[in-house]
């Protein structure tokens, strides 16, 4: 057993070595959870990939595989990329975490970058964006825009990242509109236009006139457009084709600067394993053009908040804040630490409903 295992890994290493010397281009692989045409999450990662090609021209070669299921399939795709001589592989979904770690162990000379996870190794970095900063801006606009005081929220999975977004949006909507109420539907998918459209319709029927989404397709935008008087925000991508109404603004993931910097680091031999969590300030989180459907003073308020977050003057999770059960979380003036935010598994006071368990 031991010897065969050794032989197998030796063969792997050999295969890798022979592939790696084949050319001197830096090969960068991308593993996507959705189709590149999803108009949201995967689309923006692919824009990052194209930016890498643009930046380095023929010094770089990029490859990608789209719609890769989380689990053994993703492990195979990553292994395949490493075997084919990739120097750097970006794995762009939370569920790729364990597979990334497994494959990284077999290919110590290949660098891996896993989005939104928490497991690192000598050749595995993690990176994510502080989307909640964008959610704070979004919540401010949403709180002003709602007339029914019901804001619908399409949650994907009840994981910390999504819960952070809901909390950040709620806190800031409540701040500008104390009567606001959130209705949350869990879609249990990142990308499923049919389910997302259903979720949006359910929320609209329940009186929501603003829909926030943490899923990646434009289906909720289309549903809102059909309803006529419902406000939406682009998610992950600008979704500008639904502007100026219903889409009044958006949160844009801008991975390009990070992808270019990390590729450069591999080329220069300066790559090290890091944990990156960037927000509005370095440009990883962008706020899409706020359309004219939003009153000028609301727009100004939202942009001022964005500036305050970018300059570090204001943190979206600043006390006094209580948890949903009424217990104290942050004292007045205190800000949340990254550890708590990273593992956030509770709603703040005022939100109704339970996080699915």
């Amino acid at each position: 057993m031991k010897i065969t295992a050794l032989l197998a890994s030796a063969a792997m290493a050999l295969g890798l070595a022979s592939a790696a010397v084949a050319d001197d281009k830096t090969k960068v692989g991308f593993v996507y959870v959705g189709p590149v045409g999803d108009g949201g999450w995967t689309y923006e990662h692919d824009q990052g990939r194209l930016a890498v090609e643009e930046a380095f021209g023929d010094k770089v070669e990029t490859v990608y595989v789209e719609s890769v299921a989380e689990g053994p399939d993703s492990e195979r795709v990553m292994t395949q990329m490493a075997l084919e001589g990739a120097d750097l592989i970006f794995t762009t979904s939370f569920g790729y975490m364990d597979p990334t770690i497994n494959v990284a162990k077999k290919f110590p000379n290949v660098k891996f970058e896993h989005a939104t996870g928490y497991k690192r190794a000598d050749n595995v970095s993690t990176y994510s964006a502080r989307f909640y900063e964008g959610r704070a801006v979004q919540g401010t606009i949403a709180g002003h825009m709602t007339k029914s005081n019901v804001i619908g929220y399409i949650g994907s999975f009840p994981i910390p990242e999504v819960i952070r977004g809901i909390n950040a949006a709620y806190i800031h909507a409540k701040k500008v509109n104390p009567d606001v109420e959130f209705k949350i539907v869990w879609a249990f998918t990142w990308f499923d236009p049919a389910k997302e459209a259903d979720a949006a319709k359910v929320l609209i029927e329940q009186g929501a006139d603003v829909i926030l989404q943490h899923t990646d397709s434009t289906a909720p935008q289309a549903a809102a457009q059909a309803a006529g008087n419902v406000v939406t925000f682009g998610q992950a991508s600008d979704m500008a084709e639904y502007g100026p109404f219903p889409r009044v603004s958006s949160i844009i993931d801008n991975w390009a600067p990070y992808y270019i910097a990390r590729t450069k680091a591999v080329m220069d031999g300066t790559w090290t394993s890091v944990d990156t969590w960037d927000g509005i300030a370095p440009g990883m989180v962008g706020i899409g053009e706020i359309s004219d459907a939003v009153p000028a003073e609301v727009k100004a308020e939202a942009l001022a908040l964005k500036e305050a977050i970018a300059s570090g003057e204001y943190h979206p999770f600043t006390g006094p804040l209580k948890k949903q059960d009424g217990s104290d979380w942050l004292a007045a003036g205190a800000v949340a630490d990254d550890g708590t935010l990273a593992g956030m598994n509770f709603f703040v006071e005022g939100l109704t409903g339970d996080i699915p368990q």
Binding site: M1, A5, G15, P35, V36, R76, I159, M344
Partner: protein, 360 residues
């Protein structure tokens, strides 16, 4: 004028030949599709069919074929028994999920105890879980005459909700920082379904798939139950006169297919996948339906069809990465395979006649 004339007896030659003809037709039509997308069709077809088997890195891909094909074969074998008898279990995906949940649940209940009995217990629990989930449509059908197609299919969505609930609650990894998903069974020696021979991809699931193929072959050809299954499918009235109990047959076929799907789920979650997560299921239960028909509902045919299906998946991913083919094109390619198979199937039961129709 071209017309179809029904054969007195289904043609054995065409029955054997249609899968091969369908694969060839898929290659040609797929090649045209890839050419239309601006890719070299020969290179694309070569990448899909040749690269995983004999390419530079086939030492890695061949074991992966086993990993990908084993659950397909295991599930398809179970489904084929029912399909032969006209019992349509469309919900293998749900039984697969439940088997994974019950099996992994038993394993995780023992964590961190190490013992050799844990894995056999998990196998048992996985089979039982799948069996029990399949018994719901089976009993509803035999007692109340409900449609097993609808009930078993709807139960897939129920199973998916249960899976989500388990990943977020009961089976959630206590050391997972609040993220959904269970502990990784790959890191729990007693519960890990690893390679029997390192690097071969042959885990217990693959062994079980092979055993299931032999078991099904013997059952269908040498056993009274197998005869009853075939008879019910070919001539339901004759079967009734021969004393076949439809109720027992439904319970048997649904039970076996459920148990095998449950086993496939257990072997997957304890081996290649490792964790119970919200999107643990990737459609093996549905793809297995295609595999069952591609293999002509014959145990050996299913083995070959499972291997072929695995090949198109793995080759398809390689083609995506190396040639930049979109994943949708690969899915169309796989769809063509079933389409052509069904289309050429006509030739098994009909022959093509040229010329004017005779006056009766």
């Amino acid at each position: 004028m071209v017309r179809l004339e029904k054969r007195a007896e289904p043609s054995r030659a065409w029955s054997m030949a249609t899968p091969v003809v369908a694969v060839l037709a898929t290659m040609i039509a797929g090649g045209l599709l890839f050419a239309a997308l601006g890719k070299d069709p020969v290179e694309a077809i070569r990448t899909i069919f040749w690269e995983p088997l004999f390419g530079e890195f086939s030492f890695y891909y061949r074991p992966q074929l086993v990993v990908k094909g084993a659950p397909l074969v295991l599930i398809a074998i179970g489904l084929s028994l029912g399909f032969k008898a006209g019992i349509w279990n469309i919900g293998a995906e749900g039984q697969y999920i439940i088997g994974a949940l019950t099996g992994a649940g038993v394993g995780l209940a023992f964590y961190p105890m190490e013992s050799v009995v844990i894995f056999p217990l998990m196998v048992l629990a996985g089979a039982l879980g799948g069996w029990a989930w399949a018994m719901i449509p089976a009993v509803l059908k035999t007692r109340f005459g409900t449609n097993e197609i609808l009930v078993s299919l709807m139960l897939v969505y129920v199973a998916e909700q249960l899976l989500a609930s388990m990943s977020l609650g009961l089976l959630k990894n206590p050391e997972g920082y609040g993220f959904p998903g269970s502990r990784n069974l790959q890191q729990y020696a007693s519960a890990h379904n690893g390679d029997l021979i390192a690097g071969s991809g042959l885990h217990w699931g693959a062994a079980a798939a092979l055993i299931a193929v032999i078991f099904a072959y013997v059952l269908l050809n040498r056993h009274m139950t197998g005869f009853h299954i075939r008879l019910t499918g070919d001539a339901p009235r004759a079967a009734r006169f021969a004393g076949v109990s439809p109720t027992r047959l439904v319970l048997f076929c649904m039970g076996v297919s459920g148990a095998l799907a449950g086993l496939a789920g257990l072997f997957e979650v304890s081996g290649p996948a490792g964790v119970v997560s919200i999107d643990f299921n990737v459609g093996y239960g549905f793809t297995a339906i295609i595999v069952a028909f591609l293999g002509r509902l014959h145990p050996v045919g299913i083995l070959l069809a499972g291997a072929l299906m695995a090949l198109t998946y793995i080759g398809g991913d390689i083609a995506q990465s190396n040639l930049g083919l979109p994943s949708a094109a690969i899915q169309v390619f796989q769809g063509m395979l079933l389409f052509f198979l069904l289309a050429f199937d006509v030739l098994t039961n009909f022959r093509i006649r040229l010329g004017a129709s005779e006056v009766a």
